[in-house]
C-alpha cells in the first residue's frame, strides 16, 4: 500500500502531467513537426544522386500538402479519387485534407491568425471577402505557369492547349497575374425538368428576350411558376440573371471590354450604369408579371431546387452542380435541361453565361517552394482525362478538358445537366465568363450598398419595388466607399 504522502505526490504529479499534456495539445503544430506541412529530406548523403520524377521533382523528399477542401454541390469524391491516384503515382507526397462546407470561414480564420505554417498549401474556394486583397498583399502564389505545364496524361500538350475555350482568357488578372485555376467549374443559368417541358411543348431554347418572355407566359398559363430561386440566399439569382447579363448587354451595345474593366475596378457608375439599370428593370418586369414562384422569399436553395423536381416551378436559377446536389431527391428518370436567359435581340448577338465559383484552386505563397510545386502538380493532375471524366460522371462537374467535351463517347457519360449545358453552348453563340473584381474595398459603405441590393433582389423579383431608386441609393453608398478608399 502506498502511504498518504506518496499518494498525494503521485496524484499531484499525474495532474501536472495531464495539464502539461493539455497545454501541449493546445500548442498546435509549432516546433519540430515538419510533417504537418513541409518537406522531409530522405537522403542527405553528400554526392548522392537525387532521383527525379518526369516533372523534375525529387522522389526522395517527402512532402505533406495541407489541403483545404470546400465540400459543396459536387461533394468530395471527385477530389478523393484524384488524390488517391496522385498519391499512388507520387508516393512521397502525402495529403492532409481538411474538408468542410464552411471552408470559407475556416480559411478566413486561418488567414487572420497569420500563421503561415498552419495555413493550407492548397485550397479550392475563396475565403470570405474574396481573394483580391490576398493577392495584392502577396499572400497567394501566381498560377500563370500551370497553364504552360505539360499535361500529365498528354505530355506533348500544355495544359492551356486542352482546356475549354475561354477558360484561360476569363481567369481574372490581379495586378497582371493569375492567382486561381479551376479544375471543375459550374456554369449558371436556368435548369429545368426536360420531360415537363416536352409534355407541355414549351420552348427549351428561347433565342431572344422576347422569345424568353413568351416562354414564361406559356408556363404561367399552364399553372406552373416559371422561375424560382432561393429568396433566403438571393444572390442565387446571379446564376441566371447576374453580372453576365450586364456583360451581354454591354456586348450588344458594343463596349464590353470597357464595361468589364469598369466592373473589375469599381469604376463609377456601377449600379446606375445603363446596362445594370436595364438588367434590373427587365428582372423587375418579370416580377411584375408574376413569373417568379410564390413563397420565393422563404425558400432556401434546396427547397427552390425541390420545387423544380416536384413540378411546382418550371426552372431554377442555379449552376450545373444542381444535379449532384439533388441526386438523393431526384427520380431516376429525371433529366435536367438547361438554358441561359437570353437578353439578346437576335441570334447574331452573343449570349453570356456565368462561369461559377466552384473549385477555383489557390496556393498559399508563404510555403516551401517544393510544396508549391507539388500543389501545382496536384492541380494539373486533376485535369487529366481520367480525373475529369470521374468528376463529370460522378459529381456532375463540367469538364475543363475540351478533348473530353468533344469526344462523343466520353461526353455521353456525363450527367444530364452537364450534357445539357455543353449542348446549349454548342448550339448557341455563347460566351462563358467569371465576373470578378481586381481591387478590394473595405469601407463599410460598400457593405451597406451590397446589403441594400441583396435585400431588394427578392422585392424586385416579387414586383414589389422599382429597382431604380434602390440602384441610386446603392450607387451613392458605393461612391462614398470609393472616395474613402482613395484617402
Amino acid at each position: 500500500m502506498l502511504n498518504g504522502n506518496k499518494k498525494r505526490w503521485m496524484s499531484s504529479g499525474i495532474a501536472a502531467l495531464l495539464s502539461i499534456a493539455m497545454l501541449a495539445g493546445c500548442g498546435g503544430n509549432s516546433g519540430t513537426n515538419e510533417g504537418a506541412s513541409g518537406t522531409t529530406p530522405g537522403s542527405d548523403k553528400p554526392g548522392a544522386e537525387v532521383e527525379l520524377y518526369e516533372n523534375g521533382l525529387p522522389k526522395n523528399e517527402e512532402v505533406t500538402l495541407k489541403v483545404g477542401l470546400f465540400v459543396g454541390g459536387y461533394g468530395r469524391d471527385f477530389f478523393d479519387n484524384a488524390a488517391e491516384s496522385f498519391k499512388a503515382k507520387y508516393p512521397n507526397v502525402k495529403l492532409d485534407i481538411t474538408a468542410s462546407a464552411d471552408m470559407k470561414t475556416i480559411l478566413s480564420t486561418r488567414i487572420s491568425a497569420g500563421n503561415d505554417k498552419d495555413m493550407f498549401d492548397l485550397f479550392n474556394t475563396e475565403p470570405s471577402g474574396g481573394i483580391v486583397g490576398l493577392a495584392e498583399a502577396g499572400k497567394l502564389e501566381p498560377m500563370d505557369d500551370i497553364w504552360e505545364y505539360p499535361l500529365p496524361d498528354a505530355p506533348d500538350k500544355k495544359v492551356k492547349d486542352l482546356m475549354m475555350p475561354g477558360m484561360y482568357e476569363s481567369t481574372p488578372l490581379i495586378q497582371g497575374k493569375r492567382y486561381e485555376f479551376t479544375t471543375a467549374s459550374s456554369f449558371g443559368g436556368l435548369f429545368f425538368n426536360k420531360k415537363l417541358f416536352e409534355e407541355h411543348g414549351w420552348n427549351q431554347n428561347p433565342n431572344t428576350w422576347d422569345e424568353f418572355k413568351t416562354l414564361l407566359a406559356d408556363i404561367k398559363a399552364d399553372g406552373i411558376a416559371p422561375i424560382t430561386f432561393p429568396g433566403i440566399h438571393p444572390s442565387y439569382h446571379n446564376w441566371a440573371f447576374g453580372v453576365a447579363k450586364n456583360f451581354e448587354l454591354a456586348d450588344i451595345n458594343g463596349h464590353v471590354d470597357e464595361f468589364i474593366e469598369n466592373y473589375r475596378t469599381y469604376g463609377l457608375p456601377q449600379y446606375t450604369n445603363p446596362e445594370n439599370i436595364e438588367a434590373w428593370t427587365r428582372f423587375y418586369e418579370l416580377g411584375k408579371e408574376g413569373y417568379f414562384a410564390e413563397g420565393l422569399p422563404a425558400l432556401n436553395h434546396t427547397q427552390s431546387q425541390m420545387q423544380v423536381i416536384q413540378g411546382q416551378a418550371a426552372m431554377v436559377s442555379t449552376g450545373t452542380h444542381v444535379e449532384n446536389e439533388m441526386k438523393e431527391a431526384t427520380p431516376e428518370d429525371f433529366e435536367w435541361g438547361y438554358m441561359a436567359v437570353p437578353f439578346r435581340e437576335n441570334t447574331d448577338q452573343t449570349l453570356w453565361i456565368r462561369s461559377g465559383t466552384t473549385n477555383f484552386n489557390y496556393i498559399w505563397a508563404a510555403k516551401p517552394d517544393l510544396n508549391k510545386k507539388w500543389a501545382k502538380e496536384l492541380i494539373a493532375w486533376m485535369v487529366t482525362l481520367e480525373n475529369q471524366q470521374f468528376a463529370a460522371e460522378n459529381a456532375g462537374a463540367l469538364p475543363m478538358r475540351k478533348d473530353l467535351a468533344e469526344d462523343p463517347e466520353r461526353a455521353a457519360k456525363l450527367t444530364s445537366s452537364a450534357q445539357a449545358v455543353l449542348k446549349y453552348i454548342a448550339d448557341n453563340k455563347a460566351q462563358t465568363y467569371k465576373a470578378s473584381r481586381s481591387i478590394s474595398i473595405s469601407d463599410p459603405n460598400l457593405a451597406q450598398a451590397e446589403k441594400l441590393m441583396n435585400e431588394n433582389i427578392v422585392k424586385f423579383a416579387m414586383g414589389l419595388q422599382d429597382p431604380k431608386p434602390i440602384l441610386e441609393q446603392a450607387e451613392e453608398l458605393l461612391k462614398k466607399a470609393v472616395e474613402a478608399e482613395k484617402k
Binding site: G4, A16, G295, P297, P444, N456, K459
Partner: protein, 316 residues
C-alpha cells in the same frame, strides 16, 4: 483538511517542519494545477480576444493585410448605419418576447410537473427537455418546414380547423417572418428552464406547503406566496441568461431566414457576422465596432435586470 493530516503524522520536530513544507508545496502545486489551466484559458481565449476587439474596433482591417488605425471612425459609421439600428430594433423585440415566453411557459410546466402527480411526470420531463438535445440547426429546419407554404404543418392544421390561408409562406412575408421566429426560439429554449425551475421548486421544503394548506391556502396562494418568491433568484438568473443569449444569438435566424425577407428579421449578431465573414466583403474592424456596441448593450441590460428584477433570497 490536508494540514491537519500533516500535523498529526510526524512526531519529531524536524520531520514535522519537513512535512509542513511538503504540504505547503503540495498545496501550491494543487492550486496552480487547479487554477492556471481554466483561468489561463479564460484569459487567453475569452478576456484577451475581447480586449483585443476594442483595439480592432479602431482599425480599418480586413484580417490579413496591414491594418490602418482609424480611431473612432468605425463607431461613427456604426451609429449612422441604418442597418445597425434596424437590427437592434429586431433584437429588442426578441429580447423582450423570447425570455418572457420561455420563463412563463417554463414556470407553468415546472409547476405542473412538481405539483401534480401525473404518472407520466418522468416522461414529460424528458419530453420537455428534448428540444434542448437538438442542435439549433435541427430546430431551425424543423420550424422552417412547419412554416412552409406548400407542405407546412401550420397551414395544414389551420386548414383542418377551418382557416384556409392557401400557400402562405410564414417566413416569406415581411409582416409574419419576425413573429414566426419567436415560437421556434421559445420552443428550443423552454426545456432547459423547465428542468431548472422544477428542481428549484422541488427544493422548497414540503413543510411550508403543508403549513399553508393547514391554514387554508389554495393553489394560487401557495404559488404566489410560497413558490414564486422562493424561486425568484433562479428566475432572475434565468432572465439574465435568456436576455444575453437572445441578444447575442443569431444561428436560428441565419438558418430560418438569413435575416430576410427584405431584412425584416436581421439581428445585430447576424449583421456583425456578415461584416466579418461576408462573401464579398470583410472588415473585422467595423464588425468589431458593431460588436462593441452589442457589448455595451448587454452590460446595460445586465445592469437593468440587476436594478429592476428583485434579488431577494429567502432562507428556509
Amino acid at each position: 483538511m490536508s494540514d491537519s493530516t500533516v500535523v498529526k503524522a510526524p512526531k519529531a520536530p524536524a520531520r514535522k517542519r519537513l512535512g509542513l513544507d511538503k504540504a505547503n508545496t503540495q498545496k501550491w502545486i494543487f492550486l496552480i494545477i487547479a487554477i492556471v489551466p481554466p483561468f489561463g484559458g479564460y484569459l487567453l481565449f475569452t478576456l484577451f480576444p475581447n480586449i483585443l476587439s476594442v483595439y480592432y474596433a479602431m482599425l480599418d482591417w480586413d484580417g490579413f493585410t496591414d491594418a490602418t488605425f482609424v480611431g473612432l471612425s468605425n463607431f461613427v459609421t456604426a451609429f449612422q448605419d441604418k442597418y445597425v439600428w434596424r437590427a437592434l430594433t429586431h433584437n429588442l423585440i426578441f429580447m423582450i418576447t423570447v425570455p418572457f415566453f420561455v420563463i412563463v411557459i417554463s414556470l407553468l410546466l415546472a409547476y405542473l410537473i412538481t405539483n401534480k402527480t401525473y404518472k407520466e411526470n418522468k416522461f414529460l420531463k424528458v419530453l420537455f427537455f428534448f428540444p434542448n438535445v437538438l442542435s439549433t440547426v435541427v430546430v431551425a429546419l424543423l420550424w422552417a418546414f412547419i412554416y412552409d407554404g406548400s407542405y407546412g404543418l401550420l397551414n395544414g392544421v389551420l386548414k383542418f380547423v377551418g382557416i384556409d390561408v392557401g400557400n402562405f409562406y410564414w417566413l416569406g412575408n415581411e409582416s409574419t417572418a419576425l413573429l414566426s421566429i419567436i415560437p421556434a426560439w421559445v420552443w428550443g429554449g423552454v426545456g432547459l428552464y423547465v428542468i431548472i425551475f422544477a428542481n428549484a421548486m422541488l427544493g422548497i421544503p414540503k413543510s411550508l406547503y403543508e403549513a399553508a394548506i393547514l391554514e387554508g391556502a389554495g393553489h394560487m396562494t401557495r404559488l404566489m406566496k410560497i413558490t414564486m418568491p422562493l424561486v425568484t433568484p433562479i428566475i432572475r438568473v434565468s432572465a439574465l441568461f435568456l436576455v444575453v443569449g437572445t441578444m447575442k444569438g443569431f444561428e436560428i435566424i441565419l438558418i430560418m431566414t438569413n435575416g430576410g425577407p427584405f431584412g425584416s428579421t436581421d439581428v445585430i449578431g447576424l449583421y456583425m457576422f456578415n461584416l466579418a465573414f461576408g462573401v464579398e466583403y470583410r472588415n473585422y474592424g467595423y464588425a468589431s465596432a458593431v460588436g462593441m456596441i452589442l457589448f455595451v448593450i448587454l452590460v446595460t441590460a445586465k445592469l437593468l435586470i440587476d436594478k429592476f428584477v428583485p434579488n431577494r433570497g429567502y432562507e428556509y
